[in-house]
């Protein structure tokens, strides 16, 4: 099973090798981990790995798995979609709103060539400004929102397409 942690593009290759009652052997990348899982009455359980005991809870969502390990919370997603995008030379084909909020600033225009890490749009939610940046070099295919617009969680703000094959830094095709 290929997973990614929310917010982290790195793929995790993990699978269950064997399961025998409470004992479970798992491969993570090229490492093998032996764990013992004891369910609790509260819907969670205790996971013992290398002599450490972790209280854990888990839940499945349509497109992700949520788990907590002690006070730490994690969200995992299947990696397939990310793999397809990377094959096309893009870390993400769309910039989506991580939460509902208001678009404060749109910093790019259709046709702009953007670099990895370049800020694209600023949204305001939970009384804070959050800047969304390109994860990889790309061309802005279409800006779908305007400044001042309210957006829902997951709304597509900007569509991206793969950058031109040439390696040199190009100027924006848009006239200033």
């Amino acid at each position: 099973m290929k997973l990614t942690r929310a917010g982290d593009p790195q793929e995790i290759n993990a699978e269950v090798i064997a399961r025998d009652g409470r004992r479970i052997r798992v491969r993570i990348g090229d490492r093998e981990i032996a764990a013992e899982f004891t369910p609790n009455t509260d819907g969670g359980g205790i996971l013992a790995i290398d002599g450490r005991r972790y209280p854990i809870f888990g839940a499945r969502r349509k497109d992700s798995i949520l788990v907590s390990v002690g006070p730490a919370s994690f969200e995992f997603k299947p990696a397939e979609a990310a793999t397809r995008r990377r094959a096309r030379g893009l870390a993400a084909a769309e910039i989506t709103a991580p939460m509902p909020g208001k678009v404060l600033k749109v910093l790019v225009h259709d046709g702009d060539l953007v670099e990895a890490g370049q800020p694209l749009v600023v949204i305001e939610a939970m009384k804070m400004e959050t800047t969304l940046a390109a994860e990889s070099a790309a061309v802005v295919k279409h800006v779908r929102v305007e400044e001042g617009q309210s957006v829902d969680h997951g709304a597509v703000l900007i569509e991206l397409s793969p950058p031109p094959a040439s390696s040199g830094r190009e100027s924006s095709p848009r006239d200033p």
Partner: protein, 521 residues
């Protein structure tokens, strides 16, 4: 410490415990409307009950199932989710107060708590406002006026000016040298606050700060000051009554901040000499007397070396007030109510022990503290000696993007700092919150760290020691194993419940989209 009991235990009549030292108070009001939400609304309702008051909650459409709505004797819908149309809507809140027959308002912190026009609107409607008088609030809420009061009272201040003009800002920066700090002239809480390291960043920062200030406080005025290189943030809790007495309830060190918002607070301030403490308390009291301050307030200072500088007065209850309560064995909300009833304050008993609080926020500390939302699918709440958890969270609670992401405050108390720290670390380890990304593991690692143990405190603590924090690999491994177990659970595959469209959801619908393994057999 003297403790008096009002009311009657045997008849079941309302009982009020006199926790700070109060001489007498009269019943000026009997029903309190709490103009806030989240943990502070719940916390105020609890104390109001003890004080013998009926309570009224107000709520926005996004908070219909929130804990404060459930806890109050009555609850009134005041508007849609947008704060500007609900929790910041003075007319709607005053109307709700009249409609419910409440005769007092507690504003909590944030929202309208430091808006003089709100206090004035309450007074005009013959409603007791639990806080300072509007004119005092107006004077102290304006940073320029507050500084003037401080200077007149002989309290040291950091060099600064009020302006949103780029040219005036440039001139000032040239005088005091970069870095400079830009912040909202109205309100506190770190919102709209920016450090400008060099001239080229000034214009952008000024614009963004004005925008955030206008959005957060409805007031785009900007204050610019010299940025101190390595200060600590230490503040003094004060209580003033209508009879001209003001007392101080010690200090809190709130140096550990991210994005200029406090995340860890403690009392006493580690390593602060008694001489400094006495000087700072004296300065805070002088300022409070000069301003004719009433009710609860906090005088904030920056401390660098043997110097301290007045920062601002927060004319309200602070988020971090519990650390003071733990040490002084008092209930500051009860104290506020008693002051608003005309009670007199007198010197408190000596404080005991050490209290440390941390703020559990819906945010991702591994990704620049990006705010998070979600539904609480599971909640394990810590407890035990010296552990206090102030939170409105319940299983099924929704954390929405409409308001700030404070999920709760966890406080560890002990005879000394190491005991308090140990209890807080353990309590953070007991906390489990599934469904909303939060900073609990980050806070645990901070409190458990050598740097925090050694109290290497400054407002740069996070930048210096915890800006590149990542969760430990062993916990990631455990999480991956947990994810595989969750994914492979056959029952969950069968459950495959449809994702809700998001419209008109109740917490029950939200929970039905998930299933905890092991919970249904």
């Amino acid at each position: 410490m003297r403790v008096r009991v009002f009311g009657n235990y045997t008849t079941g009549a309302p009982v009020a415990i006199d926790c700070a030292s109060f001489v007498e108070s009269m019943a000026r009001f009997t029903k309190l409307l709490v103009a806030n939400r989240g943990e502070i609304a719940l916390r105020i309702i609890r104390s109001a009950r003890v004080f013998g008051l009926k309570t009224v909650a107000v709520y926005s459409a996004a908070d219909a199932n929130s804990a404060h709505v459930v806890a109050a004797d009555e609850a009134i819908l005041i508007g849609p989710a947008e704060a500007a149309k609900s929790y910041l809507n003075i007319a709607a809140i005053v109307d709700a107060t009249k409609q419910s027959g409440a005769d007092a308002i507690h504003p909590g912190y944030g929202f309208l708590s430091e808006r003089p026009e709100f206090a004035r609107a309450a007074a005009d409607a013959q409603i007791v406002f639990v806080g300072p008088r509007p004119d005092v609030m107006a004077a102290l809420g304006n940073k320029v006026a507050a500084r003037r009061i401080a200077v007149t009272a002989g309290v040291p201040v950091v060099p600064g000016i009020e302006t949103a003009e780029i040219s005036a800002a440039r001139d000032f920066a040239a005088q005091v040298n970069y870095p400079i700090l830009i912040k909202a002239a109205a309100g506190g809480g770190g919102r709209g606050m920016r450090v400008v390291a060099e001239a080229s960043q000034l214009e952008t920062a000024l614009e963004a700060a004005a925008r955030e200030a206008a959005a957060a406080f409805g007031d785009g005025r900007i204050f610019i000051e010299k940025y101190l290189a390595h200060p600590r943030h230490v503040e003094i809790q004060i209580l003033g009554d209508e009879h001209g007495s003001v007392i101080a309830l010690g200090e809190r060190d709130c140096s550990i901040q991210r994005r200029h918002q406090k995340i860890v607070e403690e009392s006493p301030a580690p390593g602060l000499s008694n001489a400094m403490r006495v000087k700072m308390i004296d300065a805070a009291l002088k300022l409070a007397r000069a301003a004719h301050y009433t009710n609860a307030g906090t005088v904030e200072f920056l401390v660098e070396g043997d110097n301290f500088y007045f920062l601002e007065v927060n004319a309200r209850l602070q988020v971090e007030h519990p650390v003071t309560e733990m040490r002084f064995g008092c209930d500051l909300v009860c104290d506020q109510l008693r002051i608003a009833s005309g009670g007199k304050v007198s010197e408190p008993a000596a404080p005991r022990g050490v209290a440390i609080e941390c703020r559990i926020n819906a945010e991702d500390p591994e990704h620049d503290f990006r705010p998070a939302t979600g539904t609480v699918l599971h909640l394990s709440v810590p407890s035990g000696p010296g552990v206090r958890f102030d939170s409105h969270l319940t299983r099924g609670a929704e954390v929405t993007p409409w308001y700030d992401g404070l999920l709760g405050k966890l406080i560890g108390y002990g005879a000394n700092r190491e005991e308090a720290r140990g209890r807080l670390v353990n309590a953070l380890g007991e906390l489990a919150l599934l469904g909303v990304t939060n900073n609990a593991a980050y806070l645990r690692d901070i409190i458990a760290s050598d740097q925090f143990r050694d109290a290497k405190l400054s407002t740069h603590f996070i930048d210096e020691f915890f800006s590149r924090w990542k969760i430990g690999q062993s916990e990631i491994d455990a999480a991956i194993v947990a994810a595989l177990i969750t994914a492979s659970n056959q029952q969950l595959e069968n459950a495959a419940l449809p994702q809700n469209s998001g419209k008109g959801r109740s917490p029950w619908d939200a929970l039905n989209n998930f299933e905890l393994w092991g919970s249904r057999r």
